[in-house]
């Protein structure tokens, strides 16, 4: 038997997504987005030092529809990351590993992240 020709059995291609694995990969992707976002927000505040014009460019962008979409999106990524990180903290303390409990906390994180986003939006719009 030619050892080198031995195929690798399929993995990602066939494995069914679980709520837990889906949240885990989302947590990771969202973490990367947040890191980039924080960097950009830092540059945005830095642009204050260089006068109105530089600041105004980004401000106008954020007021456009696309900009607003990104701002709301970032509210969600931060909400999700914080809530899911709480879940990780409880795991580190040794709680919440039970299959049922982890499913409930997982779904709550997802629902909670959207609720928090709506809350941020309403606060931003001065409704609350």
């Amino acid at each position: 038997m030619d050892k080198n020709n031995t195929p690798l059995s399929p993995h990602l291609q066939i494995y069914k997504w679980q709520i837990s694995s889906l949240l885990s990969i989302t947590h990771r992707i969202v973490g990367v987005i947040n890191t980039l976002a924080i960097t950009i927000i830092c540059f945005w505040s830095l642009s204050l030092l260089f006068g109105v014009e530089g600041y105004q460019i980004i401000n106008n962008f954020l007021k456009s529809f696309f900009g607003k979409f990104i701002a709301v999106g970032l509210c969600w990524t931060f909400s999700f990351h914080i809530l899911n990180e709480l879940r990780h903290l409880f795991w580190d303390l040794g709680y919440g590993f039970d299959l049922k409990v982890s499913k409930i906390t997982g779904v709550s994180v997802l629902v909670g992240s959207f609720l928090l986003t709506i809350l941020f939006y309403l606060i931003g719009k001065n409704f609350i």
Binding site: M1, D2, N5, T6, P7, L8, S9, P10, H11, L12, Q13, I14, Y15, K16, Q18, S20, S21, S24, R28, H88, W91, D92, L93, G94, F97, D98, L99, S102
Partner: protein, 258 residues
């Protein structure tokens, strides 16, 4: 860097279609991963039409029916057929489980059967688990004591201490959990994986063992242990209902507090 795509020689092709010859009205299409080492070809997925009226309730019954009545060259491991030995672990309907205890009536539509994910295929549904067995050996899965063997009394364990092993000693090492773990897929050569770490915890947690500190020290490694990111595919797939994620969490907690 993890390779997400299958290598060229592992790409799956469309295989043969075995049409039903019994004129049964109660048919199920069963797609089975096939690879013959002597053919020199890529793996393929064969489709079998199986008569459900004369078939037993479990997925293993289907595989036997195919082997006995349709294609005798179908190759898979099995032994006890009662979920005790762990031989018939495979990927059924997208999740790793034991073919002998998985009911096909739970699965709607076509049935997909693949070998355990991300392993070198030996033939058809048989994956090569030798790396996992080596890793298992590396955690010394036996009692370490300072006894010389000349003592007159056996090593005793209180009922309470014995209960600490519940949920861990039941593991049959079928490898469903380890091969369901994406971390183990990408770092299987270094990361020990859920099955072996659950076993490691079983020995760390044994009141009779005299090597707890050494065991903890050995497993405390960025790659061996901390590649676990609590994805929990392991616990989701365990056919014995055990919780490898919790075992790994417990090891991490022990290390953080010791």
């Amino acid at each position: 860097m993890a390779q997400f795509n299958l290598p060229q020689n592992s790409k799956i092709e469309v295989g043969k279609y075995y049409k039903d010859e019994t004129n049964s009205k109660n048919l199920k299409k069963v797609n089975v991963y096939r690879w013959d080492p002597s053919s020199g070809k890529n793996p393929r997925v064969d489709t079998f039409e199986v008569d459900m009226d004369t078939c037993g309730p479990k997925v293993l019954d289907i595989l036997f029916k195919i082997k006995n009545e349709i294609d005798p060259s179908l190759t898979f491991r099995r032994s006890c057929a009662h979920g005790v030995c762990g031989s018939c672990a495979m990927n059924i309907d997208g999740v790793n489980t034991l073919a002998c205890i998985k009911s096909h009536t739970d699965i709607n539509g076509d049935l997909n059967v693949y070998p355990l994910p991300h392993l070198k295929v030996v033939k058809d549904l048989i994956g090569d688990l030798s790396t996992l067995y080596k890793q298992y050996e590396s955690i010394k899965p036996w009692l370490q004591t300072e006894q010389t063997g000349k003592e007159k009394e056996e090593l005793r364990q209180s009922q309470k201490d014995r209960e600490k092993l519940d949920g861990y000693y039941e593991c049959i090492l079928c490898a469903c959990c380890s091969t369901s773990c994406p971390s183990y897929w990408w770092n299987g050569d270094k990361y020990l994986g859920p099955a072996v770490l659950l076993q490691a915890y079983r020995w760390i947690n044994d009141s009779r063992d005299g090597d707890k500190k050494e065991r903890l020290k050995k497993v405390a490694d960025e790659l061996k242990l901390y590649r676990c990111h609590t994805i929990m595919n392991c616990t989701n797939s365990c056919p014995k209902g055990l919780n490898p994620a919790k075992a790994i969490g417990s090891i991490k907690k022990m290390l953080a507090t010791s």
